[in-house]
């Protein structure tokens, strides 16, 4: 950690610890605009990159605004992360509870040029997020991949089917509790049915 370049957010967080304002002011114009527009939005500067953290119910409206008013013409990528082993991750100024899944949207403004990343915390029991495929057509296939790999349901998606795995596949392979597969082997002393590697779990291949 010591030789990481100090970014402004870390200094602000230190002030935060020593009794300064509870919610530090965002350093970035765009991030502060988002925080002002979207109720409950948080922000973070991660390795020098602007990140906004936004609840799923506001993300569609925010994305329309970013596209129409702030010239974010391109949705570069939509993906997801399963933080099952990592609930204590850094969530910036986000005030809500950490969730198991996060949808990550990378946006690009070609005119300025600049990037912003949206992190959308998604509930564990019912992972749902509105589709962005009506905002940017490129989100269509990327959301299908996130659904295939994590089982996150993109509400309103026109054709939410698997994309990389076969149609009849069970489970979502990139989830952290998905068994990566185990080959049953028979040991001389242990009797039959002992399994080498990780024990089979949900949707084990």
């Amino acid at each position: 950690m010591s030789d990481r370049p100090t970014d402004p957010s870390e200094e602000i967080h230190e002030q935060d610890g020593s009794g300064a304002p509870a919610v530090p002011a965002p350093p970035d114009d765009l991030v502060s605009e988002i925080c002002a527009r979207v109720p409950g939005a948080g922000w973070e500067i991660s390795c020098g990159q602007s990140v906004a953290i936004c609840a799923p119910e506001h993300v569609e409206e925010l994305c329309f605004w970013l596209r129409d008013e702030r010239s974010f013409d391109m949705c570069v990528d939509v993906t997801a992360v399963d933080y099952l082993d990592h609930w204590d991750r850094s969530m910036g100024t986000w005030a809500g509870e950490p969730t198991r899944y996060e949808v990550v949207v990378n946006l690009l403004d070609l005119d300025t040029p600049r990037r912003i990343r949206l992190r959308v915390p998604v509930d564990e029991d019912e992972p749902r997020c509105p589709t962005l495929s009506y905002v940017w057509a490129s989100a269509d296939a990327a959301e299908r991949e996130a659904f295939d790999m994590y089982g996150i349901v993109f509400d309103g998606h026109p054709n939410l089917t698997r994309i990389l795995m076969p149609d009849d596949w069970e489970g979502h392979p990139l989830r952290k509790d998905y068994a990566i597969g185990a080959i049953p082997v028979t040991f001389k002393e242990g009797g039959e049915g002992q399994v080498a590697g990780r024990p089979p779990g949900p949707g084990g291949a």
């Binding site: 030789d3 570069v76 990592h86 990037r115 057509a137 269509d140 489970g171 049953p184 049915g193």
Partner: protein, 448 residues
């Protein structure tokens, strides 16, 4: 069912099952219009913007035919399967079906140490392995807060630009072959061979090099590399000019490519298309200029664009890019800095080979680095570079350990394959082949 199968019975908790049953998850294949929803049909018809394409759709349904192109057909450049609805020879709808080469590389990456990671990513876009390695290494270095020495950055630029030339040459070769121009194929492969020979001399392998690694490059350039590179740079431009003579003024080539596979600027942006395809739609966009990395801002080069939005434009842009890459390589050749080829940070870099013979500590250090790996501070980052095909991004999440918690690759080909309906619909089947070739898909990267 045998005992063995029983021990692997699947117990799926409700939290896993629910999303599957609650969605309209169905077949990935193309359905008859009546069996699927209107938006999906519009996508398959390539309707992205609100432009009115409905006059294309007059053919009565019983006269149309849904056929498969691929997954095992040479014109699809790998195991890409396109379901195409045809009315005679005219393409009405297209549905790309991918995943035939899916090997779970992102899952594999979660089980590999950062030091092993570039071995994994280099296999994604196998025609441009150097850019994959660079993108992954830059992401790891950003999380580590490590800056590579100038020589390492210059070597990376040199290798990536040579790789861009070789990748464009194989595109030139294969798309020429798709049009029946076999001489072009021979020429393209001949030129690529020279670059691969240099790669082999430097890295030991012709592909999947694992040469660019977090912290620098694996080895310094070999003795006499200046002569090798100068030789490549002297030989290539005249030979490429000679190959272009076969196509540039060729009326068959012009009529097969001009006005084919059109993609407007608005469609390209909405579909997330990047790289030469976006530049052929008239957008002057290059990540090497917009967000310079690895010292690209020190080199002079132009960003070629074309405004015809068709396959011809993509050909012109790619050919001009080869010239720009040659220009960059010449500058690197003239200005190669001296010094280390990897960062002198004991956390990341193994000790030199000769130290291992002399010092017990160096041996232990080397052993621990390669068995335990180095730890990367907690954090997440997205790094994007300009690969020969477009924006190649790496989203990396580290949890403080020596393995990636999540590594996602944003491949340009994945996006381009799903932009194919917008380019192919309304054209003929023969044009579809040319359009696929111009998108230059590498299925290793699409499916990962």
């Amino acid at each position: 069912m045998t005992q063995t199968h029983h021990s692997r019975a699947r117990v799926i908790p409700p939290s896993v099952l629910r999303p599957v049953t609650q969605t309209d998850e169905g077949s990935q294949e193309m359905m008859r219009p009546g069996e699927t929803n209107v938006v999906a049909v519009r996508r398959q018809r390539g309707i992205i913007t609100n432009a009115d394409f409905d006059e294309l759709l007059d053919a009565p349904e019983d006269e149309t035919m849904i056929i498969n192109m691929g997954p095992q057909h040479p014109s699809t450049h790998g195991v890409l399967r396109l379901m195409v609805e045809l009315d005679g020879e005219e393409v009405l709808r297209v549905q790309p079906v991918v995943g035939y080469l899916h090997t779970g590389m992102e899952k594999t990456a979660e089980d590999l140490m950062f030091i092993q990671g570039s071995t994994n990513v280099t296999r994604m876009d196998y025609l441009a392995p150097m850019t994959n390695e660079l993108c992954f290494s830059l992401a790891v270095e950003r999380l580590l807060g490590v800056e590579v020495p100038p020589r390492a950055a210059a070597i990376r630029v040199l290798m990536c630009e040579l790789n861009r030339i070789s990748s464009h040459m194989i595109w030139f070769a294969t798309s020429g072959m798709d049009l029946g121009a076999t001489t072009v194929m021979i020429h393209g492969l001949r030129e690529r061979e020279k670059i691969l020979n240099f790669f082999e001399k430097t890295t030991g392998l012709r592909m999947n090099h694992d040469y660019i690694r977090p912290g620098g490059v694996a080895a310094d350039l070999p003795d006499g590399w200046e002569r090798d590179v100068a030789d490549i740079l002297d030989v290539l431009p005249p030979r490429i000019a000679e190959s272009r003579e076969l196509l540039d003024d060729n009326p068959i080539f012009q009529r097969r490519t001009q006005g084919v596979g059109e993609l407007t600027r608005e469609e390209a942006l909405a579909l997330g298309v990047t790289g030469p395809m976006l530049r052929a739609s008239g957008v002057k966009w290059d990540l090497r200029k917009a967000f310079p990395y690895s010292g690209y801002d020190q080199y002079e080069f132009d960003v070629p664009t074309w405004d015809t939005c068709d396959v011809w434009g993509r050909y012109m842009v790619r050919m001009a890019e080869i010239g720009e890459s040659v220009r960059i390589c010449r500058q690197v050749l003239d200005s190669m800095p001296r010094g280390d080829y990897r960062v002198q940070d004991k956390k990341v870099t193994p000790p030199p080979r000769r130290r291992i013979d002399e010092s017990m500590e160096a041996l232990i250090h080397h052993f621990k680095l390669f068995t335990e790996g180095f730890k990367v501070p907690e954090g997440e980052t997205y790094v994007a570079i300009e690969s020969p095909r477009g924006e190649l991004g790496c989203y990396l999440v580290a949890d403080g350990g020596s393995k990636a918690y999540r590594q996602h690759t944003r491949g340009p080909c994945f996006v381009h394959v799903h932009a194919l309906p917008a380019m192919m619909v309304g054209g003929l089947v023969a044009d579809a082949i040319v359009t696929i070739a111009a998108a230059d898909p590498v299925l290793g990267e699409v499916d990962r």
